[in-house]
Symmetry: C2
Subunit: 214 residues, 2 copies
């Protein structure tokens, strides 16, 4: 898109790239909207906006990198979690906590994903690198729990939507929180309160009835 | 805003008003976005766009009326449901089904509410007429279930977000459905499959353990 050789020969690639991603994420979090301009991102990062073209090709490329950076790490952790020697209940607990923590730390991430999914080409990339691997990992986790007798059989595709919606709504609906409940900020205490309630409702909802009660 | 007396003396007020609301909702559903112009709404309804000013004061007034029309009916039904002679489990089942049906019939409604909540003044009105009465009714339903021994104690404010998120995510995330699962349309069968899974997870998640198992 732009000729890179003359523009940034002296810059540390990983640092400048990270600075731009960090600035984009920080602006979205501060402003409560994913609608931030390249010039605002450049201003926030202290770098030239042409560098976005150099590192990411376009603004969409930057958004895609942001999503992959934030959620790719989470997906690798989920993969590691699945391989651990824990019972499926504990794995699901840790997974739910991790999802809520991502939404808490990156409150713009779900809006960003939905925005990208509306675009056919970006959407395909997000689906392949994020949504499908996540749904697939959740499916394996549920299957493991059913096989071990901890979970009842659950429709994994439907569960994928239920769990994401349940974990996200507090953050996505933070304007409801303000207007209807008078709470301006989601602090750590509220995050924990939400996590406990999601775990209480959703985890109990998938548990198999214990043999003694049937 | 506009002088009404000369503009629409011959029009049946309720019909034209309803036609405009219907056209706005139909456009949002067709296009999968809440970003529809007054001129597009007027074209779709076959009426003059100045009538929006006459009936609703502004585009925001029209959006508010649309939300109140769609959800006000649901809130009145929920109020009726709470007074019925049913056990709290059946009431919660019917409530969950009703929420999913609203999102199914009006797939734009949640986006529209979130959009309006971002505006401080509109948000206050939506919170007072929709979010607060809904959260309050859900709280009473949960309390009734706890009092009757059917439900365990649940944080009602947190539950408000969990249940809305769980019910909505399939519709809000219909692009995920397409990109990650290859499903283009939410038909009646999928709606029922989703409803069953939400009920299976969320209802079981709030049930008190039966006395014999404790």
């Amino acid at each position: 898109m732009i000729s890179a050789s003359m523009k940034a020969p002296q810059l540390d690639k990983s640092t400048s790239r990270d600075q731009l991603l960090k600035a984009a994420g920080a602006l979205m979090a501060e402003r409560g909207t994913i609608d931030v301009s390249l010039s605002a991102i450049a201003r926030k990062s202290g770098l030239n906006s042409a560098l976005v073209g150099y590192y990411f090709g376009s603004k969409n490329g930057l958004l895609l990198s942001l999503v992959k950076d934030v959620l790719g790490k989470g997906l690798r952790q989920l993969d590691g979690l699945l391989k651990m020697d824990l019972d499926p209940i504990d794995k699901l607990k840790l997974h739910v906590k991790a999802i809520i923590n991502v939404y808490f730390r990156y409150p713009y991430i779900n809006r960003l994903i939905h925005h990208m999914l509306e675009d056919r080409e970006l959407g395909r990339e997000v689906a392949e690198t994020i949504s499908k691997p996540l749904a697939d990992a959740q499916c394996r986790l549920l299957q493991e729990g059913v096989a071990s007798g901890h979970f009842k059989p659950i429709d994994a595709m439907m569960f994928h939507f239920i769990i994401l919606g349940a974990c996200d709504q507090l953050f996505f609906g933070r304007h409801i929180l303000r207007s209807a409940f008078g709470i301006d900020e989601i602090d750590d205490k509220l995050r924990l309160r939400y996590t406990d309630t999601v775990l209480d409702v959703v985890l109990n909802g998938v548990l198999a009835k214990s043999p003694s009660t049937s």
